[in-house]
Symmetry: C2
Subunit: 323 residues, 2 copies
């Protein structure tokens, strides 16, 4: 049983109440907190040493990543993050200095996004560091974007470039908060998700939530320089000072873009007639960040990849923590 | 450096923003979420195997405890819990059945208090189970109770009986949510805290936050049956099927009541003139739950314990996870 199957099984019958607008299964839960025009967003996420970072990862970057992952989830709902609480699991013989550095990295990112850190806890955690962050934020009731709103004919977009995140981006990525706010303010974004498991896996999450399929244009998928360089470096990457906790292997750059994960870019859909105006307006607004139209939403539930040789069905993919 | 010193050091310079009404240092953070008449409450708490429960603790009780601790913190602010997210750290060779039992225990308690579970995550956690729960709730703006409001002359009250919680209560305690709501609705509760570290430690937290001292009447402190029985059983307790992860030793029942911790009762202050009316009304409202007036708030910053032999200053106490 992988992580997704376990979560599905555990979340089948969870307690709910009248405050729940959107329960488990989206990037954040959406709650009614009594505000007339806003929903509350609520999310938790954990990073664990030797899974999400290594013993050699600079502690500032570990703290930064722990918070950044949650911020990326708030971005995926087109929301604004407000405040976080932090649980820090530390080996008994912890050193004060790295703990302060973890907080320094987290605090710096929090300040950059005007996020408060309002509480937390330290507990002993044998052998390795664990950081669990829970975050609340808000979004206008008429502007929240879920995974489930994609419609047949929508154009499918992705920000940035994909693949090879473990070469460094997984520690340094910028949560796309400003971009998501701008998108939801200016365009009818039907569905959105942040890419944590990889395009192949997260696209399926969005499609399943929306009850639709997709057709991807292979040459339109934006492959990162890191994914291309890793491929050129081949299997020698593991031996050359690579601090990645996960094997990379000899994936093609294209497969890396689809399955490496931890891109933390936004995948979203808009009505097809908005595609060209969006690309034009985006270039004005975010000239340094690539935006790619990678395909369209189709009826059915399959993902078809088209290139000059024809079409093929995309195999199941995505990184599962328990796989 | 113990847990409290570490937290103090880490929380000296945390990022904040305009939404923060009360930051770290109380039972919950208090946030402005845009609702006209309510504040948002936000709290996180973790339980770890071999610290907060053992390998032999029934999984249902582990899940129950993880949530109950957060509910107790919301009670201490006189709030109403709304929704929780859960991070479950599991050894790689986890069994599905105990995981489902952990959730079953948590879900049952959540339903009893109309709390939704709206998300979560599973991650691998070598060697032992960890559960981190983050909770949001709300409280009327004019009814929130903090640790910091105690005034000289206030009467000091505690619910239930104290000590010996590890004999079983630490897994079965009832978060005092209904009691706290009733208190804040009917009486001018000046300050409140839930007893997790033990009366001696948590009283000091309340006093320090309020800038006051206290005088305790030794014979008024309600000692639990478990604390008395443990003392009678003496040091043989550890060998007699005791599943406690912490040593108990030969403490007097009185010292056990002050320092065992994990009582999860409410400690609070009201104006002295309200003391007798409160005791009368409480007996009508909660006939099965003891309420004890254990002393009064004084100027200064010391805790004096009075009995028929005279007065003495209470030594520093309380359970610190890193001590």
């Amino acid at each position: 049983m992988n992580e997704f199957e376990l979560i599905h099984r555990l979340t089948r019958n969870l307690p709910t109440n009248a405050a729940v607008v959107t329960g488990p299964g989206d990037d954040c839960a959406v709650l009614d907190c009594g505000a007339p025009d806003r929903w509350l967003l609520f999310k938790t996420d954990a990073v664990v040493q030797d899974i999400h970072f290594t013993r050699d990862t600079p502690p500032e970057k570990v703290g930064r990543k722990a918070l950044a992952r949650c911020l990326s989830d708030v971005a995926a709902m087109a929301g604004v993050p407000t405040a976080a609480v932090v649980t820090l699991g530390l080996p008994r013989a912890f050193q004060l200095r790295p703990v302060e550095q973890i907080y320094a990295g987290m605090n710096r990112l929090a300040r950059a996004h005007t996020v408060a850190i309002v509480g937390g806890e330290t507990t002993t955690h044998p052998d390795r560091v664990l950081i669990s962050v829970a975050l609340v934020g808000w979004v206008e009731k008429n502007r929240v974007v879920r995974r489930s709103g994609a419609r047949v004919g929508d154009a499918l977009f992705v920000t940035g470039t994909l693949g090879g995140s473990l070469a460094g981006k997984h520690l340094d990525f910028e949560p796309r908060l400003a971009e998501a706010r701008w998108l939801a303010e200016h365009f009818a974004v039907h569905a959105m998700i942040d890419l944590s498991d990889g395009l192949a896996g997260d696209l399926r999450h969005l499609l399943r939530a929306s009850g639709v399929g997709a057709e991807l244009l292979k040459t339109a998928i934006p492959i990162s320089r890191a994914a291309r360089e890793r491929h050129r470096a081949g299997s020698g990457a593991e031996a050359s000072g690579d601090s990645s906790p996960r094997p990379v292997g000899g994936k093609s750059p294209w497969l890396a873009a689809l399955t490496d994960g931890e891109d933390f870019e936004l995948l979203f859909t808009v009505p097809s007639k908005a595609a060209v105006p969006l690309l034009d307006a985006w270039r004005q607004q975010f000239p340094k960040l690539r935006l790619s139209c990678i395909g369209k939403i189709t009826a059915g539930n399959t993902v078809i990849v088209r290139d000059k040789h024809g079409s093929q069905s995309l195999p199941e993919g995505g990184y599962a923590h328990f796989a």
